[in-house]
Amino acid sequence: MINKIVANVSEACQGVKDNMTLMLGGFGLSGIPENSIAELVRLNVKGVTCISNNAGVDDFGLGLLLQKRQIKKMISSYVGENAEFERQMLSGELEVELIPQGTLAQRCQAAQSGIPAFFTPAGYGTEVAEGKEFREFNGKMHIMEKAFKADFAFVKAWKGDAAGNLIFKGTARNFNPNMCGAATITVAEVEELVPVGMMDPNQVHIPGIFVQRIFKGEKYEKRIEQLTVRKKD
Protein backbone atom coordinates (compact mmCIF):
# COMPACT_ATOMS: atom_id res chain seq x y z
CA MET A 1 0.00 0.00 0.00
CA ILE A 2 1.34 3.42 -0.93
CA ASN A 3 0.78 5.75 2.00
CA LYS A 4 -0.74 9.14 1.06
CA ILE A 5 -1.30 10.46 4.57
CA VAL A 6 0.14 13.85 5.47
CA ALA A 7 0.26 15.08 9.05
CA ASN A 8 -1.91 18.14 8.70
CA VAL A 9 -3.37 20.77 6.43
CA SER A 10 -0.17 22.82 6.20
CA GLU A 11 1.76 19.79 4.96
CA ALA A 12 -1.10 19.07 2.57
CA CYS A 13 -0.82 22.54 1.08
CA GLN A 14 2.96 22.53 0.69
CA GLY A 15 4.00 23.82 -2.71
CA VAL A 16 0.99 26.08 -3.27
CA LYS A 17 2.37 29.32 -4.66
CA ASP A 18 1.16 32.66 -5.96
CA ASN A 19 -0.42 32.66 -9.44
CA MET A 20 -1.20 28.95 -9.45
CA THR A 21 -4.39 27.41 -10.80
CA LEU A 22 -6.42 25.59 -8.14
CA MET A 23 -9.47 23.34 -8.45
CA LEU A 24 -11.83 23.26 -5.49
CA GLY A 25 -14.68 20.80 -5.09
CA GLY A 26 -18.13 21.57 -3.71
CA PHE A 27 -21.55 22.75 -4.81
CA GLY A 28 -22.65 25.84 -2.96
CA LEU A 29 -21.20 25.25 0.50
CA SER A 30 -21.85 21.50 0.35
CA GLY A 31 -18.76 19.33 0.09
CA ILE A 32 -16.25 22.20 0.03
CA PRO A 33 -12.70 21.56 1.29
CA GLU A 34 -13.14 23.83 4.33
CA ASN A 35 -9.81 23.09 5.97
CA SER A 36 -7.77 23.58 2.81
CA ILE A 37 -9.53 26.87 2.09
CA ALA A 38 -8.73 28.08 5.63
CA GLU A 39 -5.06 27.19 5.03
CA LEU A 40 -5.01 29.02 1.67
CA VAL A 41 -6.29 32.10 3.52
CA ARG A 42 -3.57 31.69 6.15
CA LEU A 43 -0.84 31.19 3.52
CA ASN A 44 -2.13 34.34 1.83
CA VAL A 45 -1.24 33.10 -1.67
CA LYS A 46 -2.09 35.76 -4.22
CA GLY A 47 -3.11 35.93 -7.84
CA VAL A 48 -4.59 32.46 -7.93
CA THR A 49 -7.04 31.17 -10.53
CA CYS A 50 -9.81 29.11 -8.95
CA ILE A 51 -11.85 26.51 -10.77
CA SER A 52 -14.93 25.91 -8.66
CA ASN A 53 -18.63 25.65 -9.48
CA ASN A 54 -19.49 28.46 -7.05
CA ALA A 55 -17.62 31.20 -5.25
CA GLY A 56 -18.88 30.62 -1.72
CA VAL A 57 -20.76 33.27 0.23
CA ASP A 58 -19.31 36.54 1.54
CA ASP A 59 -17.89 35.06 4.74
CA PHE A 60 -17.46 31.35 3.99
CA GLY A 61 -15.98 29.09 1.36
CA LEU A 62 -14.13 30.84 -1.45
CA GLY A 63 -15.68 34.09 -0.24
CA LEU A 64 -12.88 34.10 2.37
CA LEU A 65 -10.23 34.24 -0.37
CA LEU A 66 -12.19 36.88 -2.25
CA GLN A 67 -12.35 39.08 0.85
CA LYS A 68 -8.55 39.08 1.01
CA ARG A 69 -8.23 39.73 -2.75
CA GLN A 70 -6.28 36.49 -3.22
CA ILE A 71 -8.15 35.44 -6.35
CA LYS A 72 -7.18 36.85 -9.74
CA LYS A 73 -9.57 34.78 -11.78
CA MET A 74 -12.61 32.57 -11.11
CA ILE A 75 -13.83 29.85 -13.45
CA SER A 76 -17.35 28.94 -12.30
CA SER A 77 -20.87 28.22 -13.50
CA TYR A 78 -22.93 30.09 -10.90
CA VAL A 79 -21.87 32.87 -8.57
CA GLY A 80 -25.21 34.38 -7.52
CA GLU A 81 -24.77 33.91 -3.76
CA ASN A 82 -21.81 36.19 -3.26
CA ALA A 83 -22.26 39.97 -3.16
CA GLU A 84 -18.52 40.65 -2.80
CA PHE A 85 -17.88 38.50 -5.84
CA GLU A 86 -20.41 40.43 -7.90
CA ARG A 87 -18.90 43.73 -6.77
CA GLN A 88 -15.34 42.70 -7.68
CA MET A 89 -16.48 41.32 -11.00
CA LEU A 90 -18.59 44.30 -12.08
CA SER A 91 -15.79 46.69 -11.07
CA GLY A 92 -13.29 44.69 -13.12
CA GLU A 93 -11.01 43.76 -10.17
CA LEU A 94 -11.76 40.09 -10.64
CA GLU A 95 -11.48 38.22 -13.90
CA VAL A 96 -14.36 35.78 -14.36
CA GLU A 97 -15.00 33.00 -16.82
CA LEU A 98 -18.52 31.66 -16.52
CA ILE A 99 -19.08 28.33 -18.18
CA PRO A 100 -21.95 25.83 -18.28
CA GLN A 101 -21.99 23.51 -15.27
CA GLY A 102 -21.87 20.31 -17.32
CA THR A 103 -18.96 21.70 -19.31
CA LEU A 104 -17.17 22.56 -16.07
CA ALA A 105 -17.62 19.01 -14.78
CA GLN A 106 -16.56 17.48 -18.08
CA ARG A 107 -13.46 19.70 -18.37
CA CYS A 108 -12.41 18.32 -14.95
CA GLN A 109 -13.26 14.78 -15.99
CA ALA A 110 -11.33 15.21 -19.26
CA ALA A 111 -8.25 16.39 -17.35
CA GLN A 112 -8.58 13.39 -15.02
CA SER A 113 -8.93 11.03 -17.99
CA GLY A 114 -6.23 12.36 -20.31
CA ILE A 115 -8.76 13.55 -22.91
CA PRO A 116 -7.44 16.90 -24.22
CA ALA A 117 -10.77 18.16 -25.58
CA PHE A 118 -14.37 17.16 -26.31
CA PHE A 119 -17.48 18.47 -28.07
CA THR A 120 -20.65 19.56 -26.28
CA PRO A 121 -23.83 21.27 -27.51
CA ALA A 122 -24.01 23.38 -24.31
CA GLY A 123 -23.63 27.07 -25.06
CA TYR A 124 -23.83 26.85 -28.84
CA GLY A 125 -25.15 30.16 -30.21
CA THR A 126 -24.32 32.00 -26.96
CA GLU A 127 -21.35 34.10 -25.85
CA VAL A 128 -19.84 30.96 -24.30
CA ALA A 129 -19.14 29.73 -27.85
CA GLU A 130 -17.26 32.87 -28.95
CA GLY A 131 -13.80 32.10 -30.30
CA LYS A 132 -14.25 28.34 -29.99
CA GLU A 133 -14.18 25.67 -32.67
CA PHE A 134 -17.58 24.29 -33.82
CA ARG A 135 -18.50 21.05 -35.43
CA GLU A 136 -21.73 19.40 -36.51
CA PHE A 137 -22.47 15.89 -35.28
CA ASN A 138 -25.75 14.11 -36.07
CA GLY A 139 -27.24 17.29 -37.47
CA LYS A 140 -26.55 19.35 -34.34
CA MET A 141 -23.89 21.97 -33.67
CA HIS A 142 -21.32 21.42 -30.92
CA ILE A 143 -18.52 23.47 -29.36
CA MET A 144 -15.05 22.15 -28.67
CA GLU A 145 -14.11 22.50 -25.01
CA LYS A 146 -10.70 21.72 -23.56
CA ALA A 147 -9.56 19.83 -20.49
CA PHE A 148 -8.50 22.04 -17.58
CA LYS A 149 -4.89 22.30 -16.52
CA ALA A 150 -4.43 22.91 -12.81
CA ASP A 151 -1.61 22.77 -10.27
CA PHE A 152 -3.64 21.61 -7.26
CA ALA A 153 -7.06 20.04 -6.79
CA PHE A 154 -8.55 20.38 -3.31
CA VAL A 155 -11.37 17.95 -2.67
CA LYS A 156 -13.41 16.92 0.33
CA ALA A 157 -14.68 13.39 0.97
CA TRP A 158 -16.63 11.76 3.78
CA LYS A 159 -14.27 8.84 4.37
CA GLY A 160 -10.81 8.02 3.15
CA ASP A 161 -7.92 5.72 3.96
CA ALA A 162 -4.12 5.90 3.84
CA ALA A 163 -4.14 4.53 0.27
CA GLY A 164 -6.10 7.63 -0.78
CA ASN A 165 -9.33 5.77 -1.51
CA LEU A 166 -12.35 8.01 -1.08
CA ILE A 167 -16.06 7.70 -0.33
CA PHE A 168 -18.36 10.69 -0.60
CA LYS A 169 -21.68 11.37 1.11
CA GLY A 170 -24.97 12.58 -0.35
CA THR A 171 -24.86 15.56 -2.66
CA ALA A 172 -21.56 16.64 -1.06
CA ARG A 173 -20.06 14.40 -3.75
CA ASN A 174 -20.73 16.81 -6.69
CA PHE A 175 -17.49 17.97 -8.39
CA ASN A 176 -15.13 16.35 -5.89
CA PRO A 177 -14.67 13.00 -7.68
CA ASN A 178 -14.29 14.72 -11.07
CA MET A 179 -11.45 16.89 -9.76
CA CYS A 180 -9.45 13.99 -8.30
CA GLY A 181 -6.43 13.43 -10.50
CA ALA A 182 -7.38 16.39 -12.68
CA ALA A 183 -4.51 18.53 -11.35
CA THR A 184 -0.78 17.90 -10.82
CA ILE A 185 -1.40 17.30 -7.11
CA THR A 186 -4.72 16.25 -5.60
CA VAL A 187 -5.22 16.96 -1.91
CA ALA A 188 -8.13 15.15 -0.27
CA GLU A 189 -9.46 16.16 3.12
CA VAL A 190 -11.82 13.76 4.85
CA GLU A 191 -14.12 13.73 7.85
CA GLU A 192 -13.02 10.22 8.78
CA LEU A 193 -9.68 8.62 8.07
CA VAL A 194 -10.30 4.89 8.41
CA PRO A 195 -7.60 2.21 8.82
CA VAL A 196 -6.50 0.50 5.62
CA GLY A 197 -8.55 -2.62 5.02
CA MET A 198 -11.64 -1.21 6.71
CA MET A 199 -13.02 0.25 3.53
CA ASP A 200 -14.97 -2.17 1.34
CA PRO A 201 -13.35 -1.97 -2.13
CA ASN A 202 -16.85 -2.34 -3.62
CA GLN A 203 -17.87 0.93 -2.01
CA VAL A 204 -14.87 3.06 -3.02
CA HIS A 205 -15.93 5.99 -5.24
CA ILE A 206 -12.43 7.23 -6.11
CA PRO A 207 -9.43 4.89 -6.11
CA GLY A 208 -6.33 6.18 -4.33
CA ILE A 209 -4.30 6.45 -7.55
CA PHE A 210 -6.02 9.79 -8.21
CA VAL A 211 -5.00 11.23 -4.83
CA GLN A 212 -1.50 12.35 -3.77
CA ARG A 213 -2.17 13.66 -0.25
CA ILE A 214 -4.86 12.86 2.27
CA PHE A 215 -5.57 14.23 5.74
CA LYS A 216 -8.34 14.36 8.30
CA GLY A 217 -9.89 17.81 8.47
CA GLU A 218 -9.54 19.32 11.93
CA LYS A 219 -13.11 20.57 12.03
CA TYR A 220 -16.11 20.93 9.76
CA GLU A 221 -18.62 23.72 10.08
CA LYS A 222 -20.69 22.43 7.12
CA ARG A 223 -22.72 25.59 6.89
CA ILE A 224 -26.18 25.32 5.32
CA GLU A 225 -26.80 27.99 2.72
CA GLN A 226 -30.61 27.75 2.39
CA LEU A 227 -32.29 26.06 5.32
CA THR A 228 -35.64 24.76 4.08
CA VAL A 229 -37.76 22.55 6.33
CA ARG A 230 -41.36 21.47 6.79
CA LYS A 231 -43.27 21.15 10.02
CA LYS A 232 -44.30 17.80 11.40
CA ASP A 233 -48.08 17.38 11.29
Binding site: G28, S30, G31, C108, T120, R173, Q226, L227, V229
Partner: protein, 218 residues
Protein backbone atom coordinates in the same frame (compact mmCIF):
# COMPACT_ATOMS: atom_id res chain seq x y z
CA UNK B 1 -57.24 36.99 -12.91
CA UNK B 2 -53.60 36.35 -13.65
CA UNK B 3 -52.07 33.32 -11.96
CA UNK B 4 -49.91 33.31 -8.85
CA UNK B 5 -46.52 31.60 -9.02
CA UNK B 6 -48.04 28.58 -7.26
CA UNK B 7 -50.78 28.38 -9.88
CA UNK B 8 -48.24 28.54 -12.72
CA UNK B 9 -46.47 25.61 -11.07
CA UNK B 10 -49.79 23.83 -10.62
CA UNK B 11 -50.62 24.19 -14.32
CA UNK B 12 -47.16 22.96 -15.37
CA UNK B 13 -47.52 19.94 -13.09
CA UNK B 14 -50.21 18.70 -15.50
CA UNK B 15 -47.48 18.31 -18.16
CA UNK B 16 -45.61 15.83 -15.96
CA UNK B 17 -46.44 12.29 -17.04
CA UNK B 18 -46.12 8.86 -15.42
CA UNK B 19 -42.57 7.48 -15.66
CA UNK B 20 -40.90 10.85 -16.29
CA UNK B 21 -37.48 11.86 -14.99
CA UNK B 22 -37.77 15.61 -14.46
CA UNK B 23 -35.23 18.37 -13.84
CA UNK B 24 -36.64 21.44 -12.08
CA UNK B 25 -34.88 24.81 -12.21
CA UNK B 26 -34.69 27.35 -9.41
CA UNK B 27 -37.75 29.51 -8.60
CA UNK B 28 -41.26 28.71 -9.89
CA UNK B 29 -40.11 25.34 -11.35
CA UNK B 30 -39.14 24.09 -7.88
CA UNK B 31 -42.78 24.51 -6.82
CA UNK B 32 -43.97 22.11 -9.54
CA UNK B 33 -42.99 19.12 -7.37
CA UNK B 34 -45.71 20.11 -4.87
CA UNK B 35 -48.49 19.71 -7.45
CA UNK B 36 -47.65 16.50 -9.29
CA UNK B 37 -50.49 13.95 -9.07
CA UNK B 38 -49.76 11.32 -6.46
CA UNK B 39 -51.10 8.44 -8.57
CA UNK B 40 -48.15 8.67 -11.02
CA UNK B 41 -44.48 7.75 -10.57
CA UNK B 42 -42.06 10.58 -11.25
CA UNK B 43 -38.43 11.07 -10.24
CA UNK B 44 -36.89 14.48 -9.80
CA UNK B 45 -33.27 15.00 -10.77
CA UNK B 46 -31.23 17.81 -9.30
CA UNK B 47 -28.06 18.53 -11.26
CA UNK B 48 -25.86 18.76 -8.16
CA UNK B 49 -26.14 15.00 -7.91
CA UNK B 50 -29.40 13.35 -6.84
CA UNK B 51 -32.07 11.38 -8.66
CA UNK B 52 -35.15 10.76 -6.55
CA UNK B 53 -35.27 14.07 -4.71
CA UNK B 54 -37.84 14.24 -1.93
CA UNK B 55 -39.55 17.10 -0.04
CA UNK B 56 -37.87 19.44 2.44
CA UNK B 57 -36.76 17.67 5.64
CA UNK B 58 -38.64 17.98 8.90
CA UNK B 59 -37.30 20.61 11.26
CA UNK B 60 -34.12 19.36 12.92
CA UNK B 61 -33.56 16.61 10.35
CA UNK B 62 -31.77 18.79 7.79
CA UNK B 63 -28.44 17.52 6.45
CA UNK B 64 -25.81 19.89 5.02
CA UNK B 65 -24.69 17.03 2.75
CA UNK B 66 -28.12 16.80 1.15
CA UNK B 67 -29.19 19.83 -0.89
CA UNK B 68 -30.76 20.62 -4.26
CA UNK B 69 -29.43 22.82 -7.07
CA UNK B 70 -30.93 25.85 -5.31
CA UNK B 71 -28.77 24.97 -2.26
CA UNK B 72 -31.92 24.21 -0.25
CA UNK B 73 -31.94 21.32 2.21
CA UNK B 74 -33.92 18.37 0.85
CA UNK B 75 -34.54 14.67 1.47
CA UNK B 76 -33.97 11.58 -0.66
CA UNK B 77 -36.91 9.33 -1.64
CA UNK B 78 -36.72 5.55 -1.29
CA UNK B 79 -34.89 4.37 -4.40
CA UNK B 80 -32.91 7.60 -4.76
CA UNK B 81 -29.29 7.70 -5.90
CA UNK B 82 -26.37 10.11 -5.57
CA UNK B 83 -23.70 10.73 -8.20
CA UNK B 84 -21.00 13.17 -9.24
CA UNK B 85 -21.47 16.25 -11.42
CA UNK B 86 -20.06 14.67 -14.58
CA UNK B 87 -22.50 11.77 -14.33
CA UNK B 88 -25.31 14.18 -13.58
CA UNK B 89 -24.69 15.96 -16.86
CA UNK B 90 -24.37 12.63 -18.65
CA UNK B 91 -28.03 12.17 -17.67
CA UNK B 92 -28.84 15.63 -19.01
CA UNK B 93 -26.75 15.82 -22.21
CA UNK B 94 -27.38 12.13 -22.88
CA UNK B 95 -31.12 12.93 -23.01
CA UNK B 96 -32.04 10.52 -20.24
CA UNK B 97 -34.06 13.26 -18.51
CA UNK B 98 -37.57 13.47 -20.01
CA UNK B 99 -38.65 16.97 -19.04
CA UNK B 100 -36.84 20.16 -18.11
CA UNK B 101 -38.70 23.03 -16.45
CA UNK B 102 -36.86 26.29 -15.98
CA UNK B 103 -37.36 30.00 -15.49
CA UNK B 104 -36.43 32.74 -17.95
CA UNK B 105 -35.94 36.48 -18.23
CA UNK B 106 -36.84 36.44 -21.94
CA UNK B 107 -38.10 33.92 -24.49
CA UNK B 108 -38.21 34.60 -28.23
CA UNK B 109 -40.70 33.36 -30.81
CA UNK B 110 -38.00 31.15 -32.39
CA UNK B 111 -37.45 29.32 -29.08
CA UNK B 112 -34.37 31.25 -27.94
CA UNK B 113 -34.09 31.75 -24.19
CA UNK B 114 -32.15 34.22 -22.01
CA UNK B 115 -31.90 33.71 -18.27
CA UNK B 116 -28.38 34.12 -16.95
CA UNK B 117 -27.04 37.63 -17.36
CA UNK B 118 -28.00 41.31 -17.55
CA UNK B 119 -24.86 43.03 -18.87
CA UNK B 120 -23.40 45.52 -16.41
CA UNK B 121 -26.06 44.81 -13.79
CA UNK B 122 -26.52 41.20 -12.84
CA UNK B 123 -24.28 38.24 -13.54
CA UNK B 124 -25.20 35.14 -11.62
CA UNK B 125 -24.06 32.63 -14.19
CA UNK B 126 -25.80 29.97 -16.21
CA UNK B 127 -25.33 27.07 -13.80
CA UNK B 128 -26.66 24.00 -15.57
CA UNK B 129 -29.15 25.89 -17.74
CA UNK B 130 -27.05 25.95 -20.92
CA UNK B 131 -26.43 22.19 -20.74
CA UNK B 132 -30.11 21.57 -20.08
CA UNK B 133 -31.52 23.69 -22.89
CA UNK B 134 -28.92 22.52 -25.43
CA UNK B 135 -29.77 18.86 -24.92
CA UNK B 136 -33.32 18.46 -23.65
CA UNK B 137 -36.08 17.70 -26.15
CA UNK B 138 -38.87 18.71 -23.86
CA UNK B 139 -38.39 22.13 -22.27
CA UNK B 140 -41.08 24.14 -20.54
CA UNK B 141 -40.41 27.68 -19.40
CA UNK B 142 -42.19 28.95 -16.30
CA UNK B 143 -42.25 32.72 -15.93
CA UNK B 144 -44.29 35.89 -15.55
CA UNK B 145 -45.58 37.21 -18.87
CA UNK B 146 -44.13 40.69 -18.26
CA UNK B 147 -41.27 42.10 -16.22
CA UNK B 148 -41.57 44.45 -13.24
CA UNK B 149 -41.67 47.42 -15.61
CA UNK B 150 -44.63 45.84 -17.39
CA UNK B 151 -42.65 44.99 -20.54
CA UNK B 152 -43.26 41.74 -22.37
CA UNK B 153 -40.88 38.85 -21.77
CA UNK B 154 -42.21 37.01 -24.85
CA UNK B 155 -40.32 38.71 -27.64
CA UNK B 156 -39.58 38.69 -31.35
CA UNK B 157 -35.90 38.40 -30.43
CA UNK B 158 -34.19 38.18 -27.06
CA UNK B 159 -32.29 41.33 -26.11
CA UNK B 160 -30.27 39.74 -23.27
CA UNK B 161 -27.34 37.34 -23.72
CA UNK B 162 -28.72 33.97 -24.78
CA UNK B 163 -28.72 30.76 -22.76
CA UNK B 164 -29.71 28.62 -25.73
CA UNK B 165 -31.09 28.84 -29.26
CA UNK B 166 -34.27 27.35 -30.80
CA UNK B 167 -34.90 25.17 -27.79
CA UNK B 168 -38.03 26.24 -25.88
CA UNK B 169 -41.19 24.38 -26.91
CA UNK B 170 -43.71 25.59 -24.37
CA UNK B 171 -44.16 28.59 -22.08
CA UNK B 172 -46.50 28.81 -19.10
CA UNK B 173 -46.98 32.31 -17.71
CA UNK B 174 -49.32 34.01 -15.27
CA UNK B 175 -51.56 34.80 -18.27
CA UNK B 176 -51.35 31.91 -20.71
CA UNK B 177 -50.03 28.60 -21.97
CA UNK B 178 -48.24 29.02 -25.29
CA UNK B 179 -46.51 26.70 -27.69
CA UNK B 180 -43.58 27.83 -29.82
CA UNK B 181 -44.07 26.72 -33.39
CA UNK B 182 -43.42 28.16 -36.87
CA UNK B 183 -41.50 31.09 -35.45
CA UNK B 184 -44.42 32.28 -33.32
CA UNK B 185 -46.13 31.87 -29.98
CA UNK B 186 -49.33 29.87 -30.47
CA UNK B 187 -51.85 30.55 -27.74
CA UNK B 188 -53.16 27.29 -26.27
CA UNK B 189 -54.88 28.33 -23.05
CA UNK B 190 -55.55 31.48 -21.09
CA UNK B 191 -55.62 31.97 -17.34
CA UNK B 192 -59.15 32.01 -15.89
CA UNK B 193 -60.75 35.40 -16.52
CA UNK B 194 -57.86 36.71 -18.64
CA UNK B 195 -58.97 38.06 -22.03
CA UNK B 196 -57.31 37.48 -25.40
CA UNK B 197 -56.67 41.23 -25.59
CA UNK B 198 -54.77 41.20 -22.30
CA UNK B 199 -52.53 38.44 -23.64
CA UNK B 200 -52.07 40.26 -26.96
CA UNK B 201 -51.08 43.47 -25.19
CA UNK B 202 -48.55 41.63 -23.03
CA UNK B 203 -46.91 39.72 -25.90
CA UNK B 204 -44.38 41.54 -28.05
CA UNK B 205 -43.56 38.49 -30.21
CA UNK B 206 -45.75 37.12 -33.01
CA UNK B 207 -48.88 35.62 -31.42
CA UNK B 208 -51.03 33.08 -33.28
CA UNK B 209 -54.59 32.65 -32.10
CA UNK B 210 -56.66 29.97 -33.80
CA UNK B 211 -60.32 29.65 -32.90
CA UNK B 212 -61.61 29.66 -29.36
CA UNK B 213 -58.96 29.62 -26.69
CA UNK B 214 -60.05 27.66 -23.59
CA UNK B 215 -59.35 28.68 -20.03
CA UNK B 216 -56.78 26.64 -18.11
CA UNK B 217 -58.02 23.79 -15.98
CA UNK B 218 -56.32 22.79 -12.75
Amino acid sequence: MSLSKEQIAQRIAREVKDGYYVNLGIGIPTLVANFVRDDIEVEFQSENGILGMGPFPYEGEEDPDLINAGKQTITAMPGASFFDSAMSFSMIRGQHVDLTILGAMEVAQNGDIANWKIPGKMVKGMGGAMDLVASADNIIVAMMHTNRAGESKLLKRCSLPLTGVNCVKKVVTNLAVLEITNNAFRLLERAPGVSIDEIKNATEGELHIDGDIPEMKF
